[in-house]
Amino acid sequence: MSASSSQALEYLEQLPLQTHKKLYEQPSTVLAIFRCMLPHLAKSIVMALLYIPQPLSSFDLDAWFRPSASRLKKDSLYILEKLHIVEAKPRDTSRFTDYSLAPGFSKSLRQALEGSGRHGSFGVPAPPTEKRKVTIQELDDYAQGQWESLLFYMVGSTVGFHGSVGGDIGEGTKKLLQGGGFVAKNHGKIGITRTGFMFVLQDTNAQVWSLLIEYLKYVDNLGLGMSETDVLSFLFMLGSLELGQDYSTSTLSPTQTQMLDDLTAFGIVYMSHKGAKTFYPTRLAVTLTSDSGALSTTNPNEVVAPGTGATKKGFIIVETNYRLYAYTNSLLQIAVLSLFTKLTTRFPNLVSGKLTRASIARAVQTGISASQIISYLDAHAHPQMQKAVPFIPPTVTDQIRLWELEGERVETTNGYMLKEFQSEKDYREIVKYAEDLGVLVWRGDAEKKLFVDRIEQLQDVLKRQAARRR
């Protein structure tokens, strides 16, 4: 599971049962959720349960997992239950639980694997016409242009660059970026926010997901009568389409047709003109439900994804004396670099500069964290740098962290404090459980207090304790 899909997973987790049920009616949605949202072990569990005739008891499940993996098992089951994929029913007259897949989910997943049913959820290809098809190269160019101009809108204005890289972005997109808190208007000037920075430094795939999740919230608030499930299942469907193939718009629901316009503006789909009968998914769309790593396929001739094109190659060289050379002429990349570097010289294919205390401090002040900077440098390290392990000289990474620490010496974690336990035994039990789950942040044995960052799973134990007392 990559970082990009974990955002989508978080969003999915908080949806209610009804929405889940409706979502799972579409095989493409179910397949996409299975493919990229679930942790690896959860996939094994789902597949084991998929064709099993009777429910699997927790006893058998425990026997299947090694004792050392019990925490992973708990985590997987927790996610599966939260997404309402697995149903747990206590078996009568025994302490075991029966696990089975939710009927809707299992039906759709079976259909997806077998290719049965007549749901048409994997996109209806447009009938072949005389018209010339749009080539993959054109689609890539279009997607890259749209996406880069979107990013440049956020970064460029902050660092004081003028002009644009692709073209202007629409008013709707601007509103969405503001609504999502990626940019904020300050004295009539657009400035990037902390979330915006995080957004820019992510890889393209994660960016697309964050933007789409904002979009989901946005259309929900707008009250345009666009149903959440419709929007979501359309997004998942887009992820399972084929690049370079045109699809017919005739089978889409009104909500989805409405969405097409917005997605065209982001560069996720391509339509030759507004209201066209067909649409093409771009590479941004088809990689929605796959890791960006999946693009490094066995075929060396394959065109790399837009935006990540430079990522794959890598263009940044950092020396141990904090000098930085970036072989790029992309305005966007220069703008991103200038967020935390003191750039000095620019050549046709190269910019050079230095990482200084002041430049890092400025970045940290505006909300970029040291680890974000390091991971950006790491991800874009020049092939020449990639020969050393680690890519970035350790002295540089350490110094960036030190510079960051100068500013912030307190680390905060949001969470819950548990205290005033009835007995030592109760306290021990909770601490043990929290430790097993990995949610324990701090414990104070003397005062019988502990601090956890997530409480949902602990609540069961707390309730059990309360019941025992009564």
Binding site: W64, F65, G120, L241, D291, T298, Q386
Partner: protein, 377 residues
């Protein structure tokens, strides 16, 4: 200041499991499937395997699959479908072994546009079904009459070579020049690469593979060396060899009681890849039969004769011209049997005398004594 610690410098661990390549060797021996036809017809089995393949592809975004048929007279690729000779010339790649590298090549026949099916699934399925039909059409009665068994050995070597090739192709290529660097300091660069975990699944229905003992054993050792687990799903028949294969390579061995439930066996036991297997309890062969087959008559033997030079196994001492069939060394089998151990007591005495004279505990002096002991009893 603990945060500035060397340990978390390269925290770039890839979160996802590495992509896995599943190579399925499907035993398509018509004789054996005919026996099974009442409980599990071949068509049903193939349908189940297709679903299993889809499930594998769905389990990881970069997962790939290869299917090889071990037929009665030959072993061939079902997927990726071999590219045709004429087509190869067109491409202009003249390095002889393009045949099995057709991962990206679409099969020549078009894939029907099915809106109810995930596109990658239908690509794989169409290819497998087409090549399977072709294979069955090309099978003649003459071929079947000649041999009752199946070419597991050939299929295994195909699988291994495909895995080797895919692993090479899969390794992230930075640039052409870097390849030389990678070769030079392979120790460091190897660690950087995201490895492709591969495994082989043999769906076997025919028994008695002893006549292919040597090629199969060699493939097993190659797999062991490359750390490729060989999973065995034994639907019918029983062979010593395959059990040894899964045991030696750390794979799964299963001989289901009820072949009808093929899909559930596949989904539960054989789907988890190497990453998931570290957390799961996997079935394995209980008692493994380690008997070997002799090189001369391909029979499974309990006690045999071993060539002292090349370790070939023979079931009889009556070898032609007393020459090892494998390496051609002269084996004085007969003389070893004929010569009575008459001289040994004498020798023993001599050694003792020598031993008394010098140091009695020298290892050199004690060896002949040791070798003499079994002859006494």
């Amino acid at each position: 200041m603990n945060a500035i610690d060397g340990t978390d410098r390269h925290t770039k661990v890839d979160e996802g499991p590495p992509p896995s390549l599943l190579t399925i060797v499907l035993d398509t021996n018509p004789h054996a499937w005919a026996h099974l036809s009442s409980s599990l017809p071949l068509s049903t089995a193939l349908a189940n395997i297709l679903i299993f393949v889809n499930a594998h592809l769905a389990s990881g975004n970069a997962n790939c699959v290869a299917v090889i048929a071990a037929h009665s007279q030959k072993a061939c690729f079902l997927y990726p479908a071999p590219t045709h000779v004429s087509k190869r010339r067109e491409n202009g790649t003249a390095n002889g072994d393009v045949e099995m590298g057709g991962t990206s090549d679409r099969p020549p026949h078009s894939i029907p546009d099915n809106p109810n099916k995930y596109r990658p699934f239908s690509t794989v399925e169409t290819a497998i079904v087409n090549s399977f039909t072709k294979l069955m059409e090309e099978t003649h009665e003459v071929d079947l009459a000649s041999t009752p068994t199946t070419m597991i050995g050939g299929a295994l070597s195909l699988a291994l070579s495909f895995i080797a090739k895919t692993t090479l192709l899969h390794a992230p290529v930075t640039s052409r020049a870097d390849d030389m660097m990678a070769l030079a300091d392979s120790e460091t660069t190897q660690a950087q690469r995201v490895p492709l975990t591969s495994r082989i699944l043999i769906v076997s229905v025919s028994g008695d593979l002893a006549n292919q003992y040597i090629p199969v054993m060699n493939s097993i050792f190659a797999a062991q060396r490359k750390r490729i687990p060989i999973d065995i799903l034994k639907l019918a028949g029983d062979t010593v060899l395959l059990q040894q294969a899964s045991d030696a390579t750390g794979g799964i061995y299963m001989k289901p009681e009820n072949p009808g439930g093929l899909l559930q066996y596949l989904m539960m036991a054989f789907l988890p890849d190497a990453t998931a297997r570290t957390h799961l309890v996997m079935p394995s062969a209980g008692g493994v039969d380690f008997r070997a087959a002799c090189f001369c008559h391909r029979k499974v033997v309990d006690i045999g004769y071993v060539c002292s030079v090349c370790l070939s196994i023979f079931c009889t001492s009556q070898i032609q011209g007393n020459l090892c069939q494998t390496c051609g060394s002269y084996l004085s089998l007969r003389s070893a049997q004929m010569n009575p151990p008459a001289l040994i007591p004498k020798k023993k005495k001599k050694k003792r005398r020598v031993g008394q004279g010098t140091d009695s505990a020298t290892p050199g002096g004690s060896t002949p004594v040791g070798s003499g002991t079994p002859m006494h009893s």
